[in-house]
């Protein structure tokens, strides 16, 4: 039981860290290429917040795992099948609308998740979550406002925003997937039941979509798998770029 609990804690930290790491990596691709300087600053700022979260969660995961891996070891020495991020965060940046759709759907989910985790019985998780909540509240505001601007902007921006939401919506269901290990942590007061976040998320997203004059996309079956290490084709490319130096110079300390 103690082992199962330890494994569940490790799985949770890894999931939280991988989500933040991969999305932070994606946002880093925008640096110098955004539509305005202010947006450039904002995207890098959000990316930086996420990399900070990844450092904390992966660092803790490394301790829980007990194999001597620090955050960098976990970030740079695992292959695709060991990553536990959701599929949404590994989606390519696409145009600005797609980046914004991905950001808003994710941040609107991450906010109540971290708010819940800030009360976790696991103090380490609670401390990181508490700090993250402040950052994520800003991410939600920034991306939500852009959903409205683009949805309620020109005909072209509306068309692009609709297409972007349709692209990302397939990956929403996965955010609310739970598993027995997590249920055990929820029982222990250390985790948030992700399935239970859905009604509040739906309400928040619907309000923003309504303000933007956008319809909620209708899709069939959601695409899932990230939490089990079954990723899209994109993650391998992200990792080969991200991990090149530590892989090429395994003895180096940077």
């Amino acid at each position: 039981m103690a082992d199962a609990l330890a494994a569940a804690r490790f799985a949770q930290s890894l999931r939280l860290g991988d989500d933040a790491l991969i999305l932070g990596q994606r946002l880093g691709e925008w640096a110098g290429h955004a539509p305005t300087l202010e947006v450039d600053l904002a995207l890098t700022n959000i990316g930086l917040d996420l990399i900070g979260q990844a450092q904390h969660f992966l660092g803790y995961a490394g301790e829980l795992e007990g194999k001597g891996q620090d955050a960098d070891g976990l970030a740079f020495r695992r292959d695709v099948y060991d990553f536990r991020n959701c599929l949404l965060v590994e989606q390519p940046n696409g145009d600005f609308a797609r980046t914004i759709a991905r950001q808003y759907l994710f941040s609107a989910w991450q906010l109540p998740l971290m708010q819940g985790l800030a009360a976790s019985a696991d103090r380490r998780i609670a401390d990181v979550a508490e700090k993250a909540v402040k950052e994520i509240a800003y991410h939600v505001r920034f991306s939500g406002e852009w959903i409205v601007r683009l949805g309620d902007g020109t005909a072209e921006s509306k068309r692009r925003m609709e297409a972007a939401l349709a692209w990302c919506w397939r990956f929403v269901d996965e955010l609310f997937e739970s598993d027995p290990a997590e249920a055990m942590l929820v029982e222990a007061g250390e985790a948030v039941d992700r399935a239970a976040l859905r009604p509040a998320w739906d309400a928040a997203v619907d309000a923003v979509l309504a303000e933007a004059g956008l319809a909620r996309p209708t899709i069939g079956r959601g695409v899932t798998g990230g939490r089990a290490g079954r990723h899209s084709e994109h993650l391998g490319h992200i990792l080969s770029e991200m991990q090149f130096l530590p892989r090429a110079y395994p003895d180096a300390v940077w």
């Binding site: 790491l21 932070g24 990596q25 880093g28 691709e29 640096a31 110098g32 290429h33 955004a34 539509p35 305005t36 300087l37 202010e38 947006v39 450039d40 600053l41 890098t44 700022n45 990316g47 930086l48 990399i51 900070g52 990844a54 450092q55 992966l58 955050a71 960098d72 970030a75 740079f76 145009d95 600005f96 409205v148 601007r149 683009l150 309620d152 902007g153 020109t154 072209e156 921006s157 692009r160 992200i238 770029e241 991200m242 090149f244 130096l245 530590p246 110079y249 003895d251 180096a252 300390v253 940077w254």
Partner: protein, 331 residues
């Protein structure tokens, strides 16, 4: 990050002055000579205004184009700590660009006009950003040398005669100094690392040394704007004086790292209390100023692409703001 005097043709600074009010000019000259700050609503000679617009906007453009060589390595930074440091740095550069565009706008030009001048290739930016970043060591080396040169140039600009520029420089210098130390620390890690890492650091120093010296601009005997800029206290020290200071400060830093400066003529000169050093390849410098640097076309293409691809986003933001305004008026 940095700007210097880059205009290929000397501006005819004195030409317009004959027609300007002699009394106001005398008063202006006296204020500048007394190290008073000139503020946006103060009278100033038209040539002073033009020179400042050119210099501050070039400086702003340099910050923006300068995001690209470093942004090139964000996704490949070898540790999460280094990645975070690099992202924070690139973010600060965007912020410096914003301060500087604001400072230039106080002189009566809009950010849009300045951006269009950059994209049309009419406005310059620092030559240094037309060199490629080939390895991770370039990130530390740019922090160390390029930010180091920038600081050397910008510290005196904190006392430049135009108040908004001077105040922007105070903020910029604080942040740049922080990144410069982080850059040096990143090179320290390489120099103290594996033989491959040390070789990487040496290679980066070999490639960035001379371009960094060129950041101070052409030699004094071929620097047409220097004399007037110094009289106006826009510039406080000459290009060659600043370059000498930079070499004197940087050589011991390289020695501390166990790295070699790629200059066979570099030698300590006891009599002058500074280093003698070789001559930068000025032909290369002028070619880079003309837009013929190794990655000049890539840099401009990236800026134009960001601008063009972002047009629909800016249009949407304007349209939405207009709708909001008209809704408020109707309410």
């Amino acid at each position: 990050m940095y700007t210097t005097e880059l205009s290929a043709t000397p501006t005819r600074i004195a030409a317009a002055e004959g027609v300007e009010d002699a009394a106001r000019l005398a008063e202006f000259d006296a204020r500048v000579a007394a190290d008073d700050f000139i503020e946006p609503k103060d009278w100033m000679p038209e040539a002073y205004r033009r020179t400042l617009i050119r210099q501050i906007s070039q400086h702003a453009h340099s910050e923006i184009v300068g995001m690209l060589p470093e942004g090139n390595w964000i996704t490949r930074a070898p540790s999460l700590r280094r990645k975070a440091i690099l992202m924070a740095k690139v973010q600060d550069e965007a912020g410096h660009g914003l301060y500087l565009y604001c400072a230039a706008e106080t002189l009566g030009i809009s950010r849009d006009e300045m951006t269009q001048a950059l994209l049309a290739g009419k406005a310059k930016y620092s030559t240094i950003f037309n060199y490629p970043t080939l390895t991770w060591a370039d990130m530390g080396t740019i922090g160390w040398l390029v930010d180091g040169a920038a600081i050397m140039n910008q510290v005196p600009l904190q006392r430049t005669s135009y108040g908004p520029y001077a105040r922007a420089m105070v903020r910029v210098c604080k942040e740049e100094s922080f990144h410069q130390r982080q850059g040096y620390e990143a090179v320290m890690a390489l120099a103290a690392g594996t033989p491959e890492q040390k070789a990487m650091a040496q290679d980066a120093l070999d490639r960035w040394w001379w371009p960094s010296l060129m950041m101070f601009g052409p030699p004094d005997d071929n620097s047409p704007n220097t004399a007037q800029s110094m009289r106006w206290r826009i510039k406080r020290e000459t290009n060659d004086e600043l370059r000498q200071k930079f070499v004197d400060v940087t050589v011991p830093q390289a020695e501390a790292l166990g790295l070699t400066i790629p200059d066979p003529d570099l030698v300590w000169n006891e009599a002058k209390g500074g280093y003698d050093f070789g001559t930068p390849d000025w032909d290369e410098f002028y070619a880079v100023v003309r837009g013929e640097g190794p990655v000049a076309m890539e840099r401009m293409e990236a800026r134009r692409k960001a601008w063009d691809d972002g047009a629909w986003v800016r249009d949407a933001a304007m349209e939405h703001a207009a709708k909001q305004r008209s809704q408020r008026l109707a309410a």
